[in-house]
Structure formats: structure tokens, C-alpha cells
Symmetry: C2
Subunit: 334 residues, 2 copies
């Protein structure tokens, strides 16, 4: 079912507001979900809404909370999210950090007890459009096995980096798993095997059966290096926010537990740099213009694909799967 983004945002915001969220909180959470749809990341889009509404209904998410922030040092903000909506707590943190950048040049917010913050690119993009560098990290339930291992002991541990370039911002957003569980579910629904190397089953054996993979563990991306990066994110987030480590994390995929994962937001003011920095956009254009391996696939810069998909979806609307559309309609009618 093809829908206009504005209509979907209004629908989602209404459903959230009906559960006690102030209009700005409801609007922000809805905007995050619809932006994920626009950028071609439906795993972080409206399919997350029914679970979120259930968490609001059960008191696992507090629609009014913005988090309790404590400046532990001049550039270090510790935040107890108070079960708040992820994007509400994150954007409040971003506002607080911005307030000290003129003095400190960079600052970090370490967040625990907030709900799922969704697509990390949302925050990296917002900061970079505002002239700031952002580094965002988050943890999750244990879904990823160590390199050379077989048990799900790490989160998918995404990192996003937003950098102003003088033109469109550079926006990198990657999970440190080789693939998302959403994509494995997609293969299972379509009856398609998954490539070798993506996952092991519940007994720790390599598998190409997506249903078996769901009970097992996903591989880290990039072998030992990607594992190392994902583990570093796991440790950085836990060490600075006091969040749980993956085997103990719950609450972003269920409506039973509090959200035990953590989030980090680092903001850096590039205006703090010494004079002499050259604009980055020219270098990025040089990359895009460079000779591709396959003529039909030009070299891209992180953020290009999402930007193009967003522009197209603003024209054509968002194509929601019928079951999700029906579910949203039923929620609206409830």
C-alpha cells in the first residue's frame, strides 16, 4: 500500500500521542520511523511501531520522559533516560551537548535506560546539517557471534558518523553485524537460503537456512576487524553509560523487559579546528567521479544512497507491506 509520508507521520504521531506523549515527543518519534522508511531502511521504520505502542501501554516506555541529565564533567553528560522514547532522550541530549561546545569543542552524552533510538543516521544527519560532527553508537540484544565463535554474545552495535562537508553531509550508518536480523527474516519469509558465512544455527553450525539462523547467531562484518569494532562499541557504551553488555540486554525486541542497552552521542564542533582546513566536498566529488569497477555502478559516498531513496520516496510515497498497513489501520481504529 503506497502512502504519503506526511500521512504516515500524522498517523504514527497520533497513535503515540494517544498513549500520553506530548505532541512534540509523538511527532519526533513518528518522524524517526518515517525517515527510516524514506531512506529505505524499513527494518527501522513503521514495523517497529506496534511493539513501541505495546511498550507504552505496559509502562516500559514513558512517553513524557526526556531523561535526567547530570554533567559529571564539563564535557561529559550522564543521562538516565527514565524509560523515555529513544529519539526524545537523544535529541534532548544533543541540545544539552550543543550548549557546551562553544566552551569545550567536543562533548559526550552517555545514555542508559532509554528506549530504542532507531536509525542512528537520523542523529548524525541532524547534527551535520547543523554544522557539527556527530559520532553515535548503540548496543542491542545479543545477536552476533565473535569472530571464530558460534554463540550470540554481542549486539549488532551500530555506529553512525555525520560530518559537514560544505554540501550534503557525509552520513555513515552501519551495524557491525554482516547483515541485519531483519534481512534474515526477509529471506525466511521468501523461502530463500542465506549466503554462506552469514550465520550459525542454534547448535553453532554454519547454516544457509534463514529459519535456523534465527535461533543461532549472525556473523560480524569484515571478519576479525568487524568483530573487534563491534566489541569495542559494546565496551565503550557499557563503560561510559553503565548499560548492560549484550548477553544481559533486553527490551528493544520485546514488550516484557526494560531497555538495558546503552547509547553514546559525541558531538564535535569543527569550528574548533585550527585555521587551514579545506572543504571536504571536493574530495568526495573526486571519489564519486573515480573509475568504478563496473561502469554501471558508480562509486558512492556513504549517505548518497539514502539521500537518493529519500528524494524518490518523497515523490512516489512509501510502499508499506499490506500486513503492516492493515495492522496500523487496526491500531488507528482501536
Amino acid at each position: 500500500m503506497r502512502m504519503q509520508p506526511d500521512r504516515l507521520t500524522a498517523l504514527a504521531a497520533d497513535l503515540i500521542a494517544r498513549r500520553g506523549a506530548p505532541p512534540d515527543h509523538a511527532r519526533l518519534q513518528a518522524d524517526l520511523l518515517v525517515e527510516a522508511e524514506l531512506r529505505g531502511l524499513p527494518s527501522h521504520g513503521l514495523q517497529r511501531l506496534p511493539l513501541l505502542l505495546s511498550r507504552l501501554d505496559k509502562g516500559l516506555a514513558d512517553p513524557r520522559a526526556r531523561g535526567t541529565a547530570t554533567w559529571r564533567r564539563r564535557a561529559f553528560l550522564a543521562i538516565d533516560g527514565g524509560r523515555g522514547l529513544g529519539p526524545v532522550v537523544m535529541m534532548a541530549a544533543m541540545g544539552s551537548l550543543r550548549g557546551v561546545l562553544a566552551e569545550t569543542g567536543l562533548a559526550v552524552a552517555a545514555i542508559r535506560n532509554a528506549n530504542h533510538i532507531g536509525m542512528l543516521a537520523y542523529y548524525a544527519d541532524a547534527a551535520a546539517r547543523d554544522g557539527l560532527i556527530a559520532i553515535v553508537m548503540s548496543t542491542s540484544e545479543a545477536l552476533v557471534h565473535p569472530f571464530g565463535g558460534t554463540q550470540a554474545l554481542l549486539g549488532t552495535n551500530p555506529v553512525a558518523i555525520g560530518i559537514p562537508t560544505g554540501e550534503d553531509p557525509f552520513v555513515l550508518d552501519l551495524a557491525t553485524s554482516i547483515v541485519s536480523m531483519g534481512k534474515i527474516n526477509h529471506h525466511a519469509l521468501g523461502g530463500m537460503p542465506i549466503p554462506e558465512g552469514w550465520a550459525v544455527d542454534g547448535a553453532g553450525r554454519p547454516t544457509t537456512d534463514p529459519r535456523a539462523a534465527r535461533g543461532g547467531a549472525i556473523a560480524p562484518f569484515g571478519g576479525a576487524k568487524g568483530y573487534g569494532l563491534g566489541l569495542a562499541i559494546e565496551l565503550l557504551v557499557a563503560a561510559l553509560s553503565g548499560s548492560d553488555v549484550a548477553p544481559d540486554v533486553h527490551g528493544t525486541l520485546d514488550d516484557v523487559h526494560e531497555a538495558g542497552k546503552g547509547d553514546l552521542l559525541v558531538l564535535i564542533d569543527p569550528a574548533a579546528a585550527a585555521p587551514g582546513v579545506r572543504p571536504l566536498a571536493a574530495y568526495l566529488h573526486r571519489l564519486r567521479r573515480s573509475t568504478p569497477l563496473r561502469p554501471e555502478s558508480p562509486v558512492a559516498v556513504p549517505g548518497d544512497g539514502a539521500r537518493a531513496r529519500r528524494a524518490a520516496a518523497l515523490e512516489t510515497g512509501i510502499d508499506l507491506p499490506q500486513p503492516l498497513f492493515d495492522q496500523l489501520m487496526a491500531l488507528q481504529a482501536a
Copy 2:
């Protein structure tokens, strides 16, 4: 030729000191190179010394410089390395950052115009042993092609992350290239083909010939994700330090140009975190004890391998290739 590490450090320090370095600068630079040998990273070891000595002889490296540091903001230090030795400028930066952590909780040094800082794990390990979290990034000559591209337009852009755990520190150190140029040279010397996917030749064609790869470009690790990470490091370093971007960088592989790359050092005091952080060592032990894919290859944590190699080499000595040993002896006799 097997040599005791102390003897190699003394030899290297003497060669550097003879070119005008104060004893502590010479000792630090020598220690960095020998530590790389001990940890099994000879590409960043003593084979770098002859080039460094030539750079000192030609005035491209200033043995006395420690860098000129300017606090642009309370937590943002801009450093002109003044052609100083990489580890001298880096350790001076670390000392300066430490001085503000009690006030700010985290701080960054953005460095340009310093010589090669070598193995990044050296700094991450030093900080973590001191109870601090460190994130280190550096850029290099253009050696890596974009994902889907064919031209060398990015540096190998390593990142290291050191985190105290309550026991041995977590020390991750990875280049964002799939392999080092040193390893490709090693294949060329041994007449061995390189695996598919490592490199393209000078005409941009995929190659398994290591000699052809030397005139071409190395792939990023981990496909599009590793490319994105390497590019983010390229941009972060340039945006904050004012260093050149890869196609314009020279001076870490030659003795003709000033060093145009840049370096970032972020220090974070984990004591700034809110109370309630649990020790990380127990989680890392759980990873190590988890079921491996192959019984003969237990799951490791980044830093484990380097630590084991170092312990062994302290017992057995460092095995230098004969040509390098001869070259060092000739330099000593000169």
C-alpha cells in the same frame, strides 16, 4: 638474526640520538619500533628505521620538536607537530590531554605536521594501562580504493581503541584496508599470489599478482562498511587537524616530502561515568570461554594475540631478517 629487545632498543635509540634527538625522544621512538616487533607487527617495526633516519638527515623530521599545542577550546587541542617524531608529538599530546580530563571528562588532540606515529596500539595500550579510554586515528598516503572503485584514493586509515577492563586492557588496532601493503610486499618477495579481492592493478583490474598490486590499490576491509569507516576516518582527521586528504598525502613512505597526514587522539576518563558501571573483564572472559567454530582456535579478544606474542618474544628475542640486521649494523658502523 635473533636479538634481545633491549639491545635493539639501545641500537635504535643510539642511531636516532646521533641525529640530534634528546635521549628521551630517541628512546621513545626506539621503544615504539621495538614494541611493534615484539607484538608481531614488523611492518611497523625496525624496517621503518632507515627511512626515519634519512628523514632526520634531510631535515624532514626534527628530532627535538614536540609540537606546538594550542587549546582552541577547553577540550580541543590543536597541534602543529613541527616535523617532530610521531611518538614524541603523540605522547606530548597525551600528557596535555590528561591534564584537562579531571575538568572535562574527555578531550581531543588534532595533530598535523608530525612524522609517522607507527603502531597505534602503542598509544591505546599506554592510555588504557593508565586507566583511560583512548581512540586513536591516523591517515596515510593513498593506497586503498573505494568500495566498487579502482583507484587508490584513501589512506589505510587505521584506528585503535584502548579500554581498561580491570585486568589486561582491551586494545583494538586495525587498518581499514583488507591487508597491509607490507603483506603484499611479503607475497611479492616470496613469489606467492595474493587472494582474489585484495587488490587491483594500476589499470584498475582485479589481480592476484602482488607485484601488479603494488602499482594499483588495495581493497577496503569488509566491503562497503569498511570503506565507509575508512572514509569517515579520512574526513574526521582532515576536518579536525587540517591535514591533507589521501591523494595529496606524502611523507610516511618517502624521504622527500613533509608528512602531510594527520592524527587524532581522543582520551576519555571512564571515572567520569555515573556510578553503576560493571567491570568488563568478566564479559571478555565469557567471550574467550565461548564455544569456538573450530576447537583448535579459541575465541580471542583484540589485544590477546599481541600480548601473547610479546610475552614470547621477551623470552626468545626478536628474529630480524638478515638484510635488515645487516642494514642496521651498517648504519651503526657508519
